[in-house]
C-alpha cells in the first residue's frame, strides 16, 4: 500500500468526515514562521530550512572561485561558517561574524568515464547532481529521499539513505579539496594527506571549506520504488529478509498504529509503470486525523490507531519508476524539525519498539511517521556508521509545533541503545558524551582539526559544544 496517498484517500475522507466537527482540538501552533521577522530595509538574516536556526552575520560572502574563497578566508574576521542550502536542523551554521555561501561554487569540474568518477564543486545541490551526472553516463550509488541539500553540506554530515549494502554518501568520496583557515588549499585522498582526508570526509564544517569532491559513481540506472503498508510486527519479524531482498528497504513507523509504511526500491524491470502519485501534503492529513481523534478521553489514541488501520488495510501500492536520482528523491513541502540517531543495526528493532511504546504510554502528541533505515558501516572517523552497520531512526515534528518536549522524551531511548546523533539534525549531546561514542578516532580527528585551525576560526557555539573547545 502506498505511503502517502493512503492518507489522502479513504482515511482522510472517512475519518475527517466522522470527526471533522472535532477538528482543532489538537495542539495549537506554537512556533513562528521565522525566528527573525523581516521587513524591507532590515538586514537580511540567514534562516535554515526548518526555521529553527538563524543568525545575522556581519560579513557575508558568496565566492564564485576557489581563489576568491581563499582570499576571503585569509582576511575573514571572527568566527567563520560555511553554508550550502541550509537544510541542517542543528546549529552547525549560525554565526554573527562571517558567513560564506557555497552557492556559486557549483557544477561539474571533470569526470573519468573509465573509473566512473566525477569531480563536482561542493556547492552543487543534490538535485543538480543527478542531471549533471546523467549527462556523462554516471549516477551516485545511493541518495537521500530528498535532494535539496548541497553536496558539501550533505557530505560534511555523512548524509545517508537506506540499504544494507550501501554506505553513507561520504563513503563514496575518492578525493577532495579543502580550503583552510589560513587560506591554503589542500588536496586530499587515501594517498595524499590521508589523515586529513579521513577526517574531512565527515567534518561538520570544522576543518575548513571543501570546494570539490571526487565521487565514485556507477553507470546510470533506473529504479522502481514500491510504497506499501504492512503489519508492523510482520515487518520487524522479517526485517533481515526484506533488507536482503531489496536493493533499498525502509519503513515508516506510525505512532499509535499497528501498521507501517514500507518503501522497497530495486532496479527497474521492463514494463514497470508509475501508479498513483506522491503526495507531499499527506502528512498534514495524517495530522488532522490525529488531532481530530486523539484528544477524546479514554479512547482517543486507540480510536486513532483503529481508524488508521482500517483505512490503511484497503490501499493498493504506489509505484514510482525512472532514473535513479528521480526515484530516490521526494518532494518535501511540509516543514518539520527532525532528530535522528543511528543505533547499532542489531539493536534497531528493539529501539524502535521502545520509542513506539513510550509515545503510546506517555501519550505524546506525535503523529508524524518515524523513518527507519539501515546503512552499511564504514571507517570514516566521525561517521555515525564508523565501525558498525547502523539503523538510523528519525523522529519528526511539524514545523509549527513545539518539538522540544517530545524529543526530550525520546532522545534518552537512543542513548540507552548507544545511538550516535546525526550531526545535521537536532540533538543535545556534547563532547563528553560524544567522545565515548567515537572512542576509536575522536582524538585523531581533534589532532587534525587543531593542526588546521589552531585558533578555532570555524568553531561556532554549537561546534564548541560538540567538540569540547
Amino acid at each position: 500500500m502506498k505511503r502517502r496517498q493512503f492518507i489522502k484517500g479513504s482515511l482522510a475522507i472517512g475519518a475527517t468526515a466522522t470527526f471533522g466537527g472535532m477538528a482543532g482540538c489538537g495542539p495549537k501552533s506554537t512556533e513562528p514562521q521565522t525566528p527573525i521577522p523581516f521587513k524591507s530595509g532590515d538586514p537580511v538574516p540567514w534562516v535554515n530550512w526548518a526555521g529553527n536556526q538563524s543568525c545575522l552575520p556581519k560579513w557575508r560572502h558568496a565566492p564564485a572561485t576557489e581563489d576568491q574563497l581563499l582570499e576571503i578566508l585569509k582576511s575573514a574576521k571572527g568566527n567563520v561558517r560555511a553554508v550550502g542550502a541550509g537544510h541542517s536542523f542543528s546549529a552547525v551554521v549560525p554565526t554573527n561574524d562571517t558567513l560564506i555561501s557555497t552557492d556559486l561554487l557549483s557544477g561539474l569540474v571533470s569526470h573519468n568515464p573509465k573509473t566512473l568518477q566525477a569531480t563536482l564543486r561542493a556547492g552543487t545541490r543534490l538535485n543538480a547532481c543527478g542531471p549533471i551526472l546523467e549527462s556523462i553516463g554516471q549516477a551516485v550509488p545511493n541518495m537521500p529521499d530528498m535532494d535539496y541539500p548541497s553536496l558539501g553540506g550533505a557530505l560534511a554530515n555523512s548524509v545517508h539513505a537506506t540499504g544494507v549494502d550501501f554506505k553513507s554518501m561520504s563513503g563514496y568520496i575518492e578525493s577532495l579539496k579543502l580550503a583552510t583557515a589560513k587560506g591554503d588549499l589542500i588536496e586530499c585522498s587515501a594517498s595524499q594527506n590521508p589523515e586529513i582526508f579521513q577526517a574531512a570526509k565527515t567534518h561538520v564544517g570544522s576543518l575548513g571549506v571543501i570546494t570539490e569532491y571526487t565521487l565514485q559513481n556507477q553507470k546510470t540506472y533506473d529504479l522502481t520504488e514500491v510504497n506499501g503498508v504492512e503489519n508492523l510486527e510482520y515487518v520487524f519479524e522479517n526485517m533481515d529478509a526484506l533488507c536482503k531482498q531489496n536493493r533499498h528497504f525502509e519503513c515508516f513507523l506510525i505512532p499509535y498504529s499497528s501498521e507501517c509504511i514500507t518503501v522497497s526500491t530495486n532496479f527497474a524491470k521492463p514494463g514497470d509503470k508509475n501508479e498513483g502519485k506522491d503526495d507531499p501534503y499527506a502528512v498534514n492529513t495524517l495530522r488532522s486525523v490525529f488531532e481530530s481523534t486523539s484528544w477524546i478521553p479514554l479512547v482517543g489514541d486507540d480510536l486513532y490507531g483503529f481508524t488508521l488501520s482500517q483505512a490503511l488495510a484497503s490501499e493498493a501500492a504506489t509505484i514510482r519508476t525512472g532514473a535513479s536520482y528521480k526515484v530516490f528523491a521526494h518532494t518535501r513541502i511540509v516543514r518539520f524539525r527532525e532528530m535522528e540517531y543511528t543505533v547499532p543495526a542489531e539493536l534497531g528493532i528493539a529501539c524502535g519498539r521502545e520509542i513506539l511504546d513510550t509515545i503510546k504510554k506517555k501519550k505524546l502528541p506525535l503523529s508524524f511517521p518515524i523513518e527507519f533505515r539501515y546503512v552499511k558501516g564504514d571507517d570514516i572517523w566521525l561517521s555515525m556508521f564508523e565501525g558498525q552497520d547502523g539503523c538510523s531512526i528519525s523522529i519528526h515534528q511539524y514545523g509549527d509545533l513545539d518539538y522540544k518536549k517530545i524529543f526530550a522524551e525520546i532522545e534518552p531511548i537512543f542513548w540507552k541503545y548507544g545511538g550516535r546523533p546525526h550531526w545535521g539534525k537536532i540533538h543535545t549531546m556534547k563532547a563528553p558524551e560524544l567522545v565515548k561514542l567515537y572512542s576509536r578516532h575522536w582524538q585523531d580527528f581533534q589532532d587534525v582539526r587543531l593542526s588546521l585551525d589552531p585558533e578555532g576560526k570555524f568553531m561556532n557555539t554549537h561546534l564548541k559544544d560538540i567538540f569540547g573547545v
Binding site: Q33, T34, P37, F38, K39, S40, V44, P45, W46, V47, N48, W49, G51, S54, R60, A62, A64, V83, G84, A85, G86, L99, S101, D103, L104, S106, G107, L108, V109, S110, H111, N112, P113, Q117, T119, G123, R125, N127, A128, P131, I132, S135, I136, Y148, D278, P280, Y281, T331, I333, V334, R335
Partner: protein, 121 residues
C-alpha cells in the same frame, strides 16, 4: 579526466528558457546579472520550474497575479521569512536584498521598481 565547459549546459538551457520567458511577458523588466542567474538556477527553479511541488510556476501569470497584487515589499518579506511550502530565503543563502528583489522581478514579472517609469530596457 574530462573537463566540463565553464558554463555548464544546465545554466545555458536556463538562460534560453528565461530569455524566451522575458520575450513573451512584456511587463518583465528584471535585469539579473550572471551571478543572479546562477542563484536563480540553483534555488528558485528547484520548485518554480517543477509543477509537482505545487509552487507557482515560472511563466504562468495566473499563478502569480494574487502574489503580485500584494506588492513588492510584502513579497520580499515572504521570501525572506518563507511562506507555505517555501523555505526562508527560498533556499538562497547567498542572496542579499538586491539579489532577492531581482529574482522576484524575474520570476513574477513584477516591474523593477529601481528603473524610472517609462525607461526602456
Amino acid at each position: 579526466m574530462m573537463h566540463s565547459n565553464k558554463i555548464n549546459s544546465r545554466l545555458m538551457a536556463l538562460l534560453r528558457i528565461t530569455a524566451l520567458f522575458l520575450s513573451v511577458v512584456s511587463a518583465v523588466s528584471a535585469q539579473p546579472n550572471q551571478r543572479q542567474m546562477q542563484l536563480f538556477s540553483n534555488n528558485c527553479l528547484q520548485c518554480h520550474a517543477a509543477p509537482h511541488t505545487g509552487a507557482p510556476q515560472l511563466g504562468n501569470q495566473e499563478h502569480w497575479q494574487d502574489i503580485i497584487d500584494q506588492g513588492e515589499d510584502i513579497i520580499l518579506k515572504h521570501v525572506v521569512e518563507g511562506i507555505g511550502g517555501m523555505p526562508p530565503l527560498g533556499y538562497c543563502s547567498a542572496c542579499d536584498e538586491q539579489d532577492l528583489r531581482q529574482l522576484i522581478y524575474l520570476i513574477t514579472g513584477l516591474p523593477d521598481s529601481t528603473i524610472p517609469s517609462g525607461e526602456s530596457l
